[in-house]
Symmetry: C2
Subunit: 469 residues, 2 copies
């Protein structure tokens, strides 16, 4: 009689979704291997479906005449057929008693396998970004990232938001700071000929100079001014020459835009979403979170605190007062009007409030033209959410819906009004009060995992001088 084999993933076995004595086939990579004194081979294998490894017991009668099994090393890929049994040890609940092992792929020159079982530095792992997903830490980050993103989609879907694929290639500089990547198909010969100075980009693919987007917001607004609740979720780009732990040239942003909303509505949405995500992670990716805990990153305590904490909300001018009162000798002196830097944010979130904080009503001069001017004529109806450890992860505002004031702000910001003709149209034809925010996905993941270098948060980071893999 042929035995029915269930092909399964390790997470199903570990979670007890299959009964003991079930015949299963499971595939994965060898993490470690040891042979007991009485000749039983123990293989710890992983398939990335969860953090935990599956214990495989191979008795002599299985590997007899199959000497190659004893030659397995870390990183080899195998197919295991066997039975699920309760494990007699406390280390794991279930183990597999193998009836057959097939080797799918060897590791060439095992002594030089880049992902040996020993500890590797994060710097080293960045150089082998194609193999580092095989490590516990990058695996855990990947599963947590997925859960965060999935829960964001779910949360927004449940709240009546529609996803909008805002364009990546654009002619618009949303933030008005000009740090953009050019997109072009002009060939080298054209580039190297100096004759076409005037109409340089006329021969380009789009017949004009185009760039990679820094934000989908302006385009997203045109959809919120029709479908009310929408969100952009996509990659954004900054050609900034900053080599810090917090900056990437390419990163993903979530940008919800809500029609008929005020500042408090988006603050509530942002907090509700952050708490929903955090609760889901504590419920559903507990083991992956605990992995960081073990590394002395106290993120579970932090996350539990987050979901029960009040997000402290203060006005920018109040924040400035607190900083002044601190009597600390900040590198950037504190006065009303400054664009707070990391040192200020750190003091507020980590020293003074010891909790996430929301700062509202920033001076208009340090914020983009599209933020709604307050009655004081000096500040805009804006908010930033700052997290201990990572700083700003969310920035949002009411959008200026009054055409006259918008035009004034465009002029003040020295932007070309003509270029924003379609954005202005949204204020000319049935304008509405509306608001939205942007959230940097990588920074949120950094905050949640406690992994502080953002280059370890994305699979293949793009930074100055680096676009490898």
């Amino acid at each position: 009689m042929e035995i029915k084999m269930i092909i399964t993933s390790i997470t199903h076995i570990i979670e007890g979704k299959l009964l003991t004595e079930t015949h299963i086939t499971v595939n994965g990579w060898v993490k470690t291997k040891r042979t007991s004194k009485i000749g039983i081979i123990f293989i710890s294998m992983n398939d990335g479906s969860c953090l935990e490894n599956l214990q495989i017991i191979i008795k002599k009668n299985v590997y007899n005449n199959k000497n190659y099994i004893s030659k397995l090393t870390t990183g080899c890929s195998i197919k295991v057929k066997g039975l699920i049994k309760y494990s007699p040890t406390t280390k794991q609940k279930y183990e597999i008693h193998a009836t057959n092992i097939t080797i799918l792929g060897w590791v060439k020159d095992p002594s030089s396998y880049p992902i040996s079982p020993k500890k590797h530095s994060m710097e080293y792992l960045r150089k082998i970004a194609h193999l580092r997903p095989r490590t516990n830490i990058i695996g855990a980050i990947t599963r947590i990232r997925h859960k965060i993103i999935y829960k964001i989609h779910k949360f927004l879907n449940n709240h009546g938001f529609y996803w909008i694929p805002t364009p990546i290639i654009t002619t618009t500089d949303t933030e008005g700071n000009g740090k953009m990547f050019r997109v072009s198909t002009l060939n080298k010969n054209h580039l190297l000929s100096s004759q076409n100075k005037k109409d340089f980009f006329k021969k380009d693919f789009f017949k004009k100079e185009t760039f990679l987007t820094v934000s989908g917001q302006l385009n997203a607004e045109s959809y919120s001014c029709a479908l009310s609740r929408i969100y952009a979720f996509g990659p954004t780009f900054r050609a900034e020459n900053s080599n810090t732990k917090k900056h990437l040239a390419e990163f993903w942003m979530l940008e919800p835009e809500i029609a008929f909303a005020k500042l408090n509505d988006i603050i509530k949405l942002a907090i509700d979403m952050l708490i929903y995500i955090t609760k889901s992670l504590l419920d559903e990716r507990d083991k992956d979170l605990f992995f960081f805990e073990k590394k002395k990153i106290k993120n579970k305590i932090k996350l539990n605190k987050l979901i029960s904490s009040n997000f402290e909300q203060i006005d920018y001018k109040e924040a400035i007062k607190i900083l002044k009162k601190s009597k600390i000798n900040f590198k950037l002196p504190v006065h009303w009007g400054i664009d707070m830097s990391t040192e200020h944010e750190k003091y507020l979130t980590e020293k003074y409030f010891k909790t996430p904080i929301i700062i509202t009503n920033y001076p208009k001069k340090i914020k983009p033209f599209y933020m709604r001017l307050n009655k004081d004529n000096k500040t805009v109806s804006s908010m930033d959410i700052l997290m201990p450890g990572i700083g700003e992860i969310i920035g949002g505002s009411e959008r200026e819906e009054r055409i006259k004031i918008l035009d004034k702000r465009i002029k003040e910001s020295k932007l070309n009004k003509k270029k924003y003709w379609w954005y202005r149209d949204l204020r000319i034809y049935g304008t509405i009060p509306h608001a939205g925010f942007g959230m940097g996905i990588e920074r949120l993941i950094s905050f949640i995992t406690g992994v502080t270098n953002i280059k370890d948060i994305v699979p293949f980071p793009r930074t100055p001088k680096n676009a490898n893999f």
Copy 2:
């Protein structure tokens, strides 16, 4: 006594989620307005949350002394307070008896409002891409697109897949055809100086020539070779000078990659996913689908057929035989080895099988280097899914996991082996059989809605000579 007002969206009222006699506030845009003989104003308003408009009844006592209400035109934005009542007509189930109307935004020069209530051509609407989401057709496409994407994430999450943000800026040409956009920060002066011929890109942001990705697959594979089930979902780019109904320079792709999978596994996954999406749409976006039906696009019949139909699966060589037998005088003559064009696909899906079809085992010469070579040495273990009306929407394959054969294929394809060092590593260290596919999101939406020009499927299309908005 103050009455408690519930701020709600139109879809909640239309779907009967609130009781009649509930006091509500609802915001939106005027679609049409008429005044009855006895002076009652009827406003049909929409907020984009659903296709249906909400009927607002404004009696004389409400708009008395508020003459401006009678001046409302299509496109004006309003805030309505009122009571939910059963509607006496069969046109709708519920209507609102207004107690107060606030005008949020007028339409400047109503006679020239670009989205007047009359019928507009799709060509015309493309020129006002920032306002067209206010039309029924673009609204319906947007809501359907969201549901499709959300259900894709849900389906893959439920099947144990993790999302991977594969890089957008890359040095790798996955498809090996070179139609890529360059990404650069070199300034015009550098571009116009012809002195740096040799080290032209050394001064660029990434210190080398970089491009926009044509596919996230190779990077995705490095994660499936560690986490088993993963998917890329992001924008991809082709700098092809094709101005057809089916081509965009920027489009979104779904790319699942599965470790330990064979061709039949990904065919099953693709079909299961398509059926799951289609069922969800029929259940949850019925009205939006019906809108296209009314436009004589028989998509509901088509979709109902899809979920019950067998996807016909045939070998490439069988498909060639069928085409030969047809005795049709195709522009591109049929023989084993051709890369089928639209005319061939149309014959197979629309004339011969009259159903979606899956074609397997294409000649290696017309497919990329990474597809797994079959035993015949002539074909690769690949599959395309073709839909009536739109043609190919899915293309997938087993991935060549044998390093020697991969190297041979890289050489045959005249690619530089060194550039693929990290991709080759995946075959050197614990290689595994694996497979995956790519699905063009816009083409799927085009198939489902029956809207045939892909420029109407994306919010802001990027095509040769066009990167407006």
